[in-house]
């Protein structure tokens, strides 16, 4: 062993890490998903902290989100209603995903498939509403990453960067969920087990979790 160390062989590294010890008693895919999600937490927190900093340090007044994201259904505009709707859609999708995971472990393929498809459909509708929100802000209000008519210019850059990155996560999640859902339906996991549904669920709940923070910090406060 010491000879290998002296010769600088890679085998010592392999020996040390393959010493028949297992730190995480979960399927490796789940451990990897968690590590990915922790790294994603850092990315989103850096975005939100950047937002915190520009919002504190700008001397222009911060635009009033409540009125910018108001929507009128014929009558007076209801403050922030679109965002509230998007929040409820994402929570609903988290619930259907939790059920999909549960039915996965019960090996109920049909219910797992349909709950995953429902989750993906809710996710897609979330992205659709985001497209509506973006186009309203870009086309009607003239909000750009570098300027906007309401107040602090940083509002635009923060809005497009944070909601854009979150929307990208939702979009990727929809594709991921549909892929796994159809594999479930085709019996791809009959032998392997249904941990993959839980792993996909972790990703989806994380997307919902990030929205909880965006909803609070960007839209409500």
């Amino acid at each position: 062993m010491s000879e290998a160390a002296i010769s600088g062989s890679n085998s010592t590294l392999v020996d040390d890490w393959s010493a028949d010890k297992q730190a995480y008693h979960v399927p490796w895919g789940k451990a990897m998903m968690w590590i990915f999600l922790v790294s994603d937490t850092f990315i989103f927190t850096c975005f939100l902290t950047g937002y915190l900093h520009v919002r504190l340090s700008t001397t222009e007044p911060w635009p009033l989100q409540s009125e910018i994201f108001a929507l009128s259904f014929g009558g007076d505009p209801i403050p922030l209603i679109l965002i509230a709707l998007m929040t409820f859609i994402l929570i609903t999708s988290s619930g259907t995903m939790a059920l999909a995971v549960n039915f996965g472990y019960r090996r109920d393929k049909v219910k797992t498939f349909w709950f995953m498809v429902a989750t993906a459909a809710l996710g897609a509708s979330f992205v659709g509403m985001q497209v509506f929100e973006w186009s309203k802000l870009i086309l009607e209000e003239g909000v750009r990453p570098w300027t906007n008519p309401f107040g602090a210019t940083q509002f635009g850059s923060v809005f497009f960067m944070i909601t854009g990155f979150h929307g990208l996560h939702v979009t990727v999640g929809v594709i991921y969920l549909l892929t796994v859902a159809f594999k479930v339906k085709n019996g791809h996991y009959d032998k392997k087990g249904y941990e993959i549904v839980e792993i996909a669920g972790l990703y989806w709940h994380f997307v919902d979790l990030v929205w909880v923070f965006i909803f609070a910090f960007f839209y409500l406060l």
């Binding site: 008693h25 999600l37 902290t49 340090s57 001397t59 409820f88 619930g95 549960n102």
Partner: protein
């Protein structure tokens, strides 16, 4: 605990948490709808946010049933982010104070709203700015 057998739990707890998340989100929205402002707004929004995040992570993501090694791996590293947030908020206040003090910006400036800009299809007659 039951990791190797998979995370299987009774459905009831998922329904309960699901309903709870709806209720907490409604409360958050109500804070904005009823235009609660100031420290009360911050306190309530942050409280509902923390409760929602906690329930999602603990129950929906099954962290409460995971073994300690994995729990610490998940929840430990993000704690350093609190330091980043603390430092950046100190820095942010410092910069804005310096700008108000030396660059002559108006600390009491008010942001414009869409109805200010478009003349407002609603309320143009009643309230003229």
């Amino acid at each position: 605990m039951s990791s190797e057998a998979g995370q299987q739990h009774p459905l009831g707890i998922y329904y309960k948490i699901w309903i709870l998340l709806f209720v907490l989100s409604s409360f958050s929205y109500a804070v904005d709808f009823f235009n609660v402002q100031g420290g009360m707004r911050w306190g309530l929004v942050l409280l509902f946010m923390c409760l929602k995040a906690g329930f999602i992570v603990a129950i929906f993501m099954h962290v409460v049933w995971e073994r300690m090694a994995l729990v610490l791996t998940i929840l430990g590293p993000p704690l350093v982010l609190l330091l980043l947030i603390g430092l950046m908020s100190v820095e942010g206040y410092y910069i804005s104070d310096a700008r108000y003090q030396y660059m002559g910006h108006d600390p009491n400036a008010v942001a414009l709203t869409p109805s200010d800009l478009h003349g407002g299809e609603h309320g143009e007659e009643e309230e003229a700015h």
